[in-house]
């Protein structure tokens, strides 16, 4: 089993202040998501056939571990997953930024990257493009950006998104389809400009 070194939670709060608690819970969540991502990433790279876990299992496991913690207060698994989706997104974006910076000769985080190959860089810039496009989309329709986050970054089922966002299933499917197409187009446009 793979529990070892897999969950990190925030240090429990010194103050009862709810903002602080929230921040700490978020911190815990980020750390947990990070550890999960790391685990998945290394399993994928080892080409471990059993390890090609989907985002769904990834977030589910993080949820299971965090849910046992008395320090993590969360009304429901679905709500958690929505937050997790945001965390995953930010983590990946941060990683991509760093990879980008490294390629440009930035001196920081030399420990992190050691096998920079083309495809990785490509994915890194694509992810950054996705992130930027998602920001634009949020400005146009916040709900749709959320649907994407939930589905792409947390692997949530349609039914879960229906419940979490309080919209109909048809809306979710429509939102997803439109958003996916638009975001894909935006990324492609970005990439074409970059490579030109």
């Amino acid at each position: 089993m793979e529990l070892e070194n897999s969950v990190t939670l925030a240090r429990p709060g010194e103050a009862p202040d709810s903002t602080l608690r929230q921040r700490q819970a978020l911190d815990a969540l980020y750390s947990a998501s990070y550890e999960e991502l790391r685990r998945i990433a290394s399993a994928v790279r080892r080409s471990d056939p059993g390890a090609t876990a989907s985002a769904t299992t990834l977030v589910n496991e993080a949820w299971m571990k965090l849910a046992r913690s008395p320090d993590f207060i969360c009304e429901s698994a679905i709500h958690f997953k929505r937050i997790a989706a945001r965390a995953m997104r930010q983590l990946l974006v941060e990683a991509a930024r760093r990879k980008h910076a490294e390629k440009r000769g930035g001196d920081y985080l030399f420990i992190t990257f050691d096998e920079s190959v083309g495809q990785q860089m490509e994915r890194a810039s694509e992810l950054l493009a996705l992130d930027a496009a998602l920001e634009q989309l949020a400005a146009l329709n916040a709900r749709q950006a959320m649907v994407v986050e939930c589905r792409f970054f947390a692997g949530m089922e349609v039914a879960e998104i229906v419940q979490e966002l309080q919209i109909s299933e048809a809306t979710v499917l429509r939102d997803w389809r439109a958003a996916r197409a638009w975001l894909g187009a935006q990324i492609r446009k970005q990439e074409n400009e970059r490579l030109r």
């Binding site: 089993m1 529990l3 070892e4 070194n5 990190t8 939670l9 240090r11 429990p12 709060g13 010194e14 911190d27 980020y30 750390s31 550890e35 991502l37 790391r38 998945i40 990433a41 290394s42 399993a43 994928v44 790279r45 090609t52 989907s54 985002a55 913690s69 008395p70 320090d71 995953m88 990946l92 990683a95 991509a96 001196d107 920081y108 985080l109 030399f110 420990i111 992190t112 050691d114 096998e115 890194a124 694509e126 992810l127 996705l130 146009l140 329709n141 994407v148 792409f152 970054f153 692997g155 389809r177 439109a178 996916r180 197409a181 638009w182 975001l183 894909g184 187009a185 990324i187 492609r188």
Partner: protein, 888 residues
């Protein structure tokens, strides 16, 4: 693009998808109404929909695999960390990466640990810095040292620590084919390191064999305090103690750690238990492979581990690990040790690593384990087994063991059981009782006794603090009271036992078995205080309660009856004493009787017969006791020495001094062997042998022996103690015998002073001291002083002894002689005659004093000449004198 445009784009996009592909372009042109921008967006989206290979179609894990770095192991670039330059990659954990590095100026090697992705969250940074702080604080040979710590320009923290070249503990054991003992020794070293950390308020929380390296020189190093926990008293809000970082290796995690309960030293105790299990069996206690995480957790929290011995037995069958053979008994002890350490219930686990270490040491020294200490039977049998094998405990046993082996053993065991059960959390108390039971460390003899005295004082403070658990408090007061009594601190004993009685009466009622037990203890104390009326009253009260509350043959009732017998014996009511003791013996010989109780009742019965002059019976009974004790304790136990001394006493009375000397010497040899030369028990056996030697006129051997005994007792008990007084008495007699009057006077004088102090001026011992002092004055012909001393002695006897007690008779005969020497013939004749009539009523009157009385009376009558009265008149006078004396 604005929101309205986006709504339009979506609407056209969805509608277009509804149509066949060839109609779409026309539909778009029509719908967009010349909005070029909108048209372009929808076209791109439809393209994308067709293609379907964008990033967003990809699985997140694939993306993660590409974006999140795998680790620093695959390639390595040398880097500079302060004065260190990395040489190679060593490994990585959840938090960071570890490199081997060299300090460029000195050339020394260190391990550098770097926090990976420090930017990620404050939580990880805090944890990393906390490990660094803990390492800085822990300065212990078997914990890897911290050398240096700093932060890189980008904010990434790192630290340099001792580079340990070694192999993981379990690998080491396998490679070196370590014996069982060696494994346990290595385990103890690990325990030491963990205990040290605990003393610094640091809990490791991730103990496992791969975190413990054995170096070439056989020393160990404890690594990775990565998820250690600093128990900071100023920072101890309930939430903060919660083990939030559930990151440890599950196989080594205690159930409460898995449940996320507050960090405690007992979590480490559990992990140590698992480690021991692994060392003994080369396996982990639970097979977790092929289980889902949740199944695994269920197993860890709910299933009991198998016995290590059974796992090993299976391996033996397979022909493995033959170098780890040990007896069944040894394995049984390891089972207990290991499974107690990893008990699911923390309350039944070792309370601390210290307690665990104690039992590891017991195991290594082949002594009984503490964890089974709650079963008296186990302790006794191990104890006896050891002694039968001739393994002598000189190093581990102190005087205190003697106290415990005797009458208090039962009580202390009981007290400890109750204490453990009811106050499991009161660790200080437990430690105290454990220490009490163990008696101490490596040194034997007098110095330890002093330590025990202060230990008992400490125990009283502990007991006073236990007001929240009055039952335990009462139990402890009772135990400590009995111990203080044994130690000769009668006043303290009184206070403690009274407190115990108050509490128990309050909790259980005055009619309870518990109250009766305390009454017994008080009765016993009254004996020591020579308050016989009270002693008898208390013993009878206890019996009455026990008779009402318990079945007739209950051991507690039998013990109370036996105690009454002892009281009656000390009062000189030998017939009644014999009756009571015989009853106790009958009860204790029956089913359910306690062997050691029987042995003690038989001893008292033998003593009563001895004092009643039934020397044959006494001799037979003593032989019987000796046979029982041989059976129970083996041949070289102090209990056996006591029996030999009693047998010697009978021989002494028969004037078979040679035989008496034989018995006494055997007894002394046992005590010396068991306790060593400088022990008060040995001293006591010396004084007894000395008395026999004096009777044989072997003064040259007796005197130095008595002096040695005195030195030991003074050192152990202090200068003012009943035992010191008794030895001074013997020494005084010996000095008198060799004509050293100066020393004799000093000895008896000191004896009198001690007894006055200890017994608050009221005990017949004071009378004995004064009477013996008078013998010295007689020899010096200081008759007035002698007369004064004897009169004082008689006044003391009058309030402490029955009027016809032999001692009273002797004192009167002596007084008669003193008066005779001063030519006060009439007064002398009254005393001599009164003394003689008392001595004549004794079962075994001392011939010497009978003769003295008769001779003096003759002289007195001769001197008084015509005034010589008739025998009848004399008898009346003597009677009046004796009655008057008793009314004093």
């Amino acid at each position: 693009m604005n929101k309205a445009e986006w709504e339009q784009v979506q609407s056209i996009f969805h509608d277009a998808l509804e149509r066949p592909r060839e109609e779409r372009e026309a539909f778009l042109e029509q719908s967009a109404c010349g909005q070029k921008d909108v048209l372009e967006q929808v076209r791109a989206m439809l393209d994308e929909e067709e293609r379907g290979n964008s990033l967003i179609e990809e699985d997140l894990s694939g993306l993660a695999g590409k974006l999140i770095d795998a680790g620093a192991g695959s390639t390595f670039t040398s880097r500079q960390f302060g004065p260190y330059r990395t040489i190679r990659f060593l490994g990585e954990g959840g938090m960071g990466v570890v490199y081997l590095a060299e300090r460029e100026d000195v050339g020394s090697q260190v391990a550098i640990k770097v926090l990976r992705d420090a930017w990620l969250s404050p939580a990880r940074r805090d944890r990393f810095l906390s490990e660094q702080r803990m390492l800085a604080q822990l300065n212990y040979s078997s914990i890897a040292h911290l050398y240096d710590a700093n932060v890189l320009p980008d904010g990434t923290p790192w630290f340099a620590m001792e580079y340990v070249e070694g192999i993981p503990l379990t690998n080491y054991c396998e490679e070196h084919r370590c014996t069982l003992t060696r494994r346990v020794q290595l385990f103890r070293m690990v325990c030491d390191a963990v205990q040290y950390a605990h003393q610094q308020a640091v809990i490791h929380r991730d103990l496992k064999s791969s975190n413990i390296l054995v170096k070439d020189d056989g020393s160990i190093r404890l690594l990775d305090f990565g998820i250690g926990k600093q128990l900071d008293t100023f920072d101890m809000s309930a939430r903060q103690t919660v083990t939030a970082l559930r990151m440890m290796t599950p196989a080594y995690a205690s159930p409460e750690q898995i449940r996320g309960e507050p960090a405690s030293v007992q979590m480490d105790v559990y992990s140590l238990g698992v480690l021991l299990f692994e060392l003994l069996t080369l396996e982990l206690p639970f097979e977790l492979k092929n289980l889902t995480p949740n199944e695994a957790l269920t197993v860890l929290v709910e299933h009991d581990a198998p016995k290590p011995s059974s796992v090993v037995a299976r391996k033996h069958d397979l022909g493995e690990s033959s170098w780890m053979r040990a007896s069944k008994q040894r394995w049984a002890e390891l089972d207990v040790l290991c499974l107690t350490a990893m008990h699911k219930d923390p309350a039944r686990r070792y309370r601390s690593v210290e307690a665990l270490i104690r039992d590891v040491d017991h195991f290594l020294r082949e002594e009984p384990l503490d964890v089974r200490g709650d079963s008296f039977v186990y302790r006794t049998s191990t104890f006896v087994r050891r002694n039968r094998r001739g393994v002598i405990l000189a190093a581990a046993v102190t005087l205190f063991a003697a106290v415990l082996i005797g009458f208090s053993t039962y009580r202390i065991t009981k007290a400890r059981d109750a204490a453990l059960a009811e106050a499991a959390r009161t660790e200080r108390l437990q430690t105290f009782l454990m220490n009490l039971f163990e008696g101490g460390d490596a040194q034997t003899g007098p110095s330890d006794q002093l330590r025990v005295v202060s230990l008992v004082d400490k125990g009283i403070q502990e007991a006073n603090a236990l007001s929240a658990t009055p039952k335990v408090q009462a139990e402890l007061y009772q135990t400590l009271g009995s111990i203080e009594e044994k130690l000769g601190k009668l006043d303290k004993a009184e206070d403690l036992l009274q407190s115990a009685l108050r509490l128990r009466t309050h909790i259980f009622g005055s009619e309870s078995e518990e109250a009766a037990e305390t009454l017994e203890a008080l009765s016993h104390l009254r004996l020591d205080q020579a308050r016989y009326d009270d002693a008898e009253k208390l013993a009878r009260q206890a019996i009455d309660i026990d008779t009402r509350q318990l079945p007739p043959a209950h051991p507690a009732r039998a013990r109370a009856i036996s105690l009454l017998g002892m009281v009656l014996e000390d009062r000189g009511k030998y017939d009644e004493a014999i009756q009571a003791l015989q009853q106790a013996v009958n009860l204790q010989s029956g089913p359910g009787g306690v062997e050691s109780d029987l042995s003690s009742s038989l001893t008292e019965l033998a003593n009563s017969h001895f004092y009643a002059g039934h020397l044959e019976i006494s001799n037979e009974l003593n032989q019987r006791v000796l046979a029982i004790d041989h059976e129970v304790y083996g041949n070289s136990h102090p209990q056996v020495a006591d029996d030999l001394i009693n047998l010697g006493a009978v021989q002494f009375e028969w004037s078979h001094y040679k035989q008496a000397e034989d018995y006494d010497r055997q007894a002394l040899a046992i005590e010396q062997h068991f306790y060593g030369n400088d022990n008060p028990e040995t001293a006591s056996a010396m004084t007894i042998l000395s008395r026999t030697l004096l009777a044989e006129d072997k003064t040259s051997e007796a005197l130095p022996m008595l002096r040695q005994a005195l030195v030991i007792e003074e050192h152990v008990y202090g200068k003012v103690h009943p035992r010191v007084a008794t030895t001074l008495n013997d020494l005084g007699h010996a000095a008198l015998r060799v004509g050293d009057l100066k020393e004799a006077e000093e000895d008896f004088q000191r004896m009198a002073d001690i007894c006055r102090t200890v017994y608050h001026g009221k005990h017949y011992y004071i009378g004995i001291a004064l009477a013996n002092l008078s013998s010295v004055y007689m020899r010096e012909k200081r008759y007035e002083k002698a007369e004064h001393a004897l009169k004082e002695a008689l006044r003391m006897y009058a309030v402490t002894l029955p009027p016809n007690h032999q001692n009273v008779g002797i004192a009167k005969v002596r007084l008669g002689r003193v008066l005779l020497r001063q030519k006060h013939y009439a007064q002398a004749r009254v005393q001599s005659s009164a003394g003689l009539s008392i001595l004549q009523t004794q079962a075994n009157p001392m011939a010497e004093w009978l003769e003295n009385a008769r001779a003096d009376l003759k002289s007195e009558n001769a001197a008084l000449g015509t005034n010589q009265g008739t025998a009848a008149q004399l008898s009346t006078l003597a009677h009046t004198e004796n009655t008057a004396g008793s009314n004093n």
